[in-house]
Point group: none
DNA sequence: GATGAATGAGCTTTCATTCAT
DNA sequence: GATGAATGAAAGCTCATTCAT
């Protein structure tokens, strides 16, 4: 069978569509099967159960995102620029793949079950990109040494994530993605940079 | 009516417990009924359906919170202090009523249905407390006039909310609530204050 | 309490309305209570259960009808005229009290349970009015002695009853009640009269 | 598909049994499923809901009956004989398939909803067989031209239907089916035939 | 007698999952 | 591997009936 008709990923992509449309709990396996153009039973050849589709979807998609973000960040040397790149990437996802963004935003965090189980996995890896940057900035003397990377990473991620909800929920949001990413980044940089670093313009 | 029993609020309180424990979709009406020590059918004397319990719960509880936060903020005159008060209140909720915090965090935002319907209601009213403060700070010349209140409110709320998830999901979080609230507030204040205001100590 | 506010009959009248509107099984006790302007519980002071309302309704209303029909028939001496009077009375009920007619037609005969239990009661008494007339006609030599009164009574009743369904179900029926009653009666009289009696005109 | 099992008709047959036994409203889906030896859910693969089973049952069974009756009638040339054939067929159904007869008698006509919806369908087609015969008889000069076929059809059907109720409700009815069919037919023929046609014996 | 809040058994319907083909 | 008909457990919701006031 041809690589391109890969059932596994067809099902994942279908699930993203269906979960985004109706939510995880309201989604029916048969909906996903229909969207993926496979039989209901076929899904169980690739996934253990409905929840497993959600987990796999998350694992695989966030892995791709992590790779992309890390690649983009590696091109930068200035931690301040890195933070901006992260912000832009995070918000751009809504534009590039709204359905995936919606699932990651809404459905994945719906149950503490999911989040508790996933505390030490890809999700953490993703958010830790921020704390690594912050740490780097502190070592370079750019970020104040008294800010706590573990708090900043959550605050920064939370800020961006809340913004991305705006685009998911609002048909015509009042801000552009780029300007918002920059604005939030700028506020945080003002917030965590040393006095000297703050004076050095970003771009 | 058996006046003293107040079934309505007993059911709401039971629902908070049950939704926090198992999530909205996995919660059974009979669980809520058992927790509230009423019959299953009694619930339908006070609520139209399961979803209506969630909506009512949200409406009522967030209204209480709004009142409390606004009262606390009114005692302050310095917008910087106001922002700190908001942060502290928001995070304190986890401590005072973990189950309610969990429901508001996890269950309410699970479905775009809910969020879309509720875009213009209490939830907005709550988050708008922040933008009102920011605006006030700008008028007083304390906050930079180039920061956008509509972005700051979401960023600040998102940052705090993401932190509160830490307490909900983590048995022994590495940070105290007070210190975290202050830390996040401090970062944002650094981020949005004018140079002069930043020098003026907060506490 | 005043005789006129008699709860018992208020409930019966309300039940006729509600049963006619929604059918026995779909009717709710609370609907009847609301229609009768009494509390739900009050109904159980006058009736044992929902089914008992149906039985009582039937008993009482058909008793009234029997009295009326018998009175009208007693005024006649010619069995042929008696049959016509019965037909007219039966069909007129639809006109005078459509809701009651509908309940008697549709709801009462819905369950064999009801009909089996009621084989030897008022319903039989009502239909037997016909066989008594037929018998009388035979004794007077007007009706053929080879027709079986037990069959004629059912056939005649069934014929009329089926016609009355037409008025219940059809907004604008193509026949008038009087003409139909006469027409059916005439056919039956032709069918059961002796040759001599047939020649004697009825009216 | 397990070709040989034909679940659809197994369910219909089971429904006839169960509806006849307990009535439509008291029948549980699980009873029908058990009787049909399928799972509860299987029923919903073939029918939309409980009411749909009743409708389908009616459609299919009455269609079969119509075909049979029309075939039998086509063999006759004398309208008088045709009417007798119809009567015999109608009453014979009770003997051949008592449960089906009971459902058609009791359950189908229980709700005006059903009858109103079905005024212009198979049921009408069935009863119209009678009026077609009457018309034919009038054209042949056998039946009086002043009898109204639309009234006769209902009267004749009602008469037969009421008789069939006797067999459904009574364990040991005092009349045989054949003799009753003939008797009723004879009365109607006497009632509607012209004087000449009446004198010509039927059989 | 009258009320109507409370009860809880009961039933239709859904849908994740299985498995014979 | 792929299918989709069949399964049956599970749960939201209704409403006849009760009973404390």
């Amino acid at each position: 069978m041809r690589r391109t008709s890969d059932k596994h990923s067809k099902i994942i992509q279908a699930a993203i569509k269906v979960f985004a449309r109706t939510g995880f709990f309201n989604a029916r396996i048969s909906d996903i099967a229909k969207e993926a153009k496979v039989a209901d039973g076929t899904i169980y050849l690739y996934f253990n159960n409905k929840y497993d589709i959600l987990l796999s979807l998350f694992e695989e998609e966030i892995s791709k995102i992590i790779v992309q973000v890390k690649q983009a960040i590696e091109k930068e040397t200035d931690p301040r620029k890195m933070l901006e790149t992260f912000a832009l990437h995070h918000l751009k996802l809504v534009e590039k793949n709204e359905e995936l963004a919606e699932v990651l935003q809404m459905e994945l965090r719906q149950s503490n079950k999911f989040m508790k189980e996933y505390r030490n996995t890809r999700f953490v890896e993703y958010v830790d990109i921020i704390s690594v940057i912050v740490h780097k900035g502190q070592e370079m003397g750019m970020f104040r040494s008294d800010v706590m990377p573990g708090v900043v990473k959550r605050a920064y991620f939370g800020a961006l994530d809340e913004m991305s909800r705006l685009w998911i929920l609002t048909p015509n949001p009042p801000y552009s993605i780029e300007e918002t990413a920059k604005h939030i980044c700028e506020i945080f940089l003002h917030g965590i940079c040393t006095d000297e670093a703050r004076k050095g313009a970003l771009s």
